[in-house]
Symmetry: C2
Subunit: 238 residues, 2 copies
DNA sequence: GTCTATATCTGGATAGAC
DNA sequence: GTCTATCCAGATATAGAC
């Protein structure tokens, strides 16, 4: 699947994300007109991600946020009741998105080799679409409240678990050689994370998400299928 | 080389690091007795790394630091003149260490395959010895002052450059296949960084730095030497 | 060299006008 | 719903005794 095809399929816009959020949290948010609320939530979150990813969430003052979002400090507090709640709001959005996208796009793919390639692609493509979220989540994970910390760990286990499962399936079918599934999955995750953590680097080198995706897949397959002299045909490439 | 052998060779103790630092910065530091100064610098840096790596440097208050280091707030300011200077002090130390260790331990190894393995091992072993520094550097990089920011980028380029060079050498000698050296080096770095960024994970799974090192080497060699059905003997393993 | 006490300021949060 | 003005806790940094 190309990146453009993916974007068409998932169709995650900032607005959709925050409209969903608004509907699920109507009680917490003081502003009652949906359109107004959604518009401002988008402004606030964009500003918050931009400033935080530049200098860190804890160094972002609410005065910074007020200037960049174009809302007064008083208005900001109509959308969240504390700075920490704002952090949790952003985190929450990423996690629900990742679980949703994985579940829908991996179902129905049974062949482990094919499933491996799809999982890598989906993760990279999703993190490309939501790069600021992913970067933010990674960097600010340690500052989460207790509950959201738990959710973050669950999300971490969830994605890594997907890869562990795939590897074990492939080993059962003798498609992959007998390496340690957990460490392998951990390393795959590290490769995937590098894409959104060092995006400036890949951008300056003109590496597209599709190219990177192919390199990662090649890397992982070389490792899992080493000493297996298969042709591309046999591997399931097309 | 085993990890223990490495530790014996490099022999980086906290004390040596800060003694060096003290001698190079005698003018900045108000305390004039070397032994007192070094002892307290060790206390301060250990406390600062421990607290920062738990909740982030910007959320560490000087009161926290005072309690954990056992020095009063007034005393702390005999060793640095602002909180930002403390950050730069810690960063500086890691970078000089990494350049020193790489230069001494890679010189004399000419075979690209061997050089690749050594570079991976050295990086992992060094980051294991200095884990809190590496983690800190990575997480707080964005908060550096202008000058130190430049140094940080240089250090980044330095390590990645080592791997790019090795890969290009190996390709010239037809030991490695023709993949993109830059992206490959970037991915190798991502694997190396995962070791000190997610150390808790590997610790909880009882993965030692030597085991991890072998997996990374296997991973990278599989990729660079794919479709080359060599035996371990031929690859130079022993 | 190190401590306690304190000056000064920054930033999160709220009250109340519009 | 949004703004301005303000409160006040808590942070950095310093002064001066020991």
């Amino acid at each position: 699947m190309t990146f453009d095809a993916f974007k068409g399929l998932v169709n995650i816009s900032n607005e959709d994300i925050w409209r969903d959020f608004y509907r699920q949290n109507k009680d917490k948010i003081k502003v009652k007109k949906e359109d107004v609320a959604v518009r401002n939530l988008v402004k606030i979150s964009s500003a918050a991600l931009s400033i935080s990813n530049r200098k860190g969430f804890s160094l972002m003052t609410l005065r910074d946020l007020s200037v960049e979002s174009g809302l007064s400090m008083g208005a900001l507090y109509s959308y969240f009741s504390s700075k920490d709640e704002l952090l949790d709001m952003i985190q929450q959005q990423r996690m629900t998105a990742i679980i949703k996208v994985f579940s829908t796009h991996l179902s129905g793919i049974d062949n482990p080799a094919q499933r491996l390639r799809s999982a890598i692609q989906i993760h990279l493509y999703l993190s490309e679409v939501m790069q600021p979220w992913f970067y933010f989540s990674y960097m600010e994970a340690k500052n989460l409240g207790k509950d959201d910390r738990k959710k973050a760990i669950e999300a971490e286990i969830f994605t890594e678990g997907i890869f562990i499962d795939i590897i074990e399936q492939g080993q059962k079918k003798s498609l992959f050689r007998n390496v340690d599934p957990k460490t392998t999955a951990a390393i795959i995750k590290a490769m995937l994370q590098d894409w959104y953590l060092k995006r400036w680097k890949y951008e300056s080198r003109n590496v597209s998400v599709e190219e990177y995706s192919e390199v990662v897949i090649d890397f992982v397959e070389s490792y899992l299928m080493a000493r297996n002299n298969q042709t591309q045909e046999e591997k399931g490439w097309t």
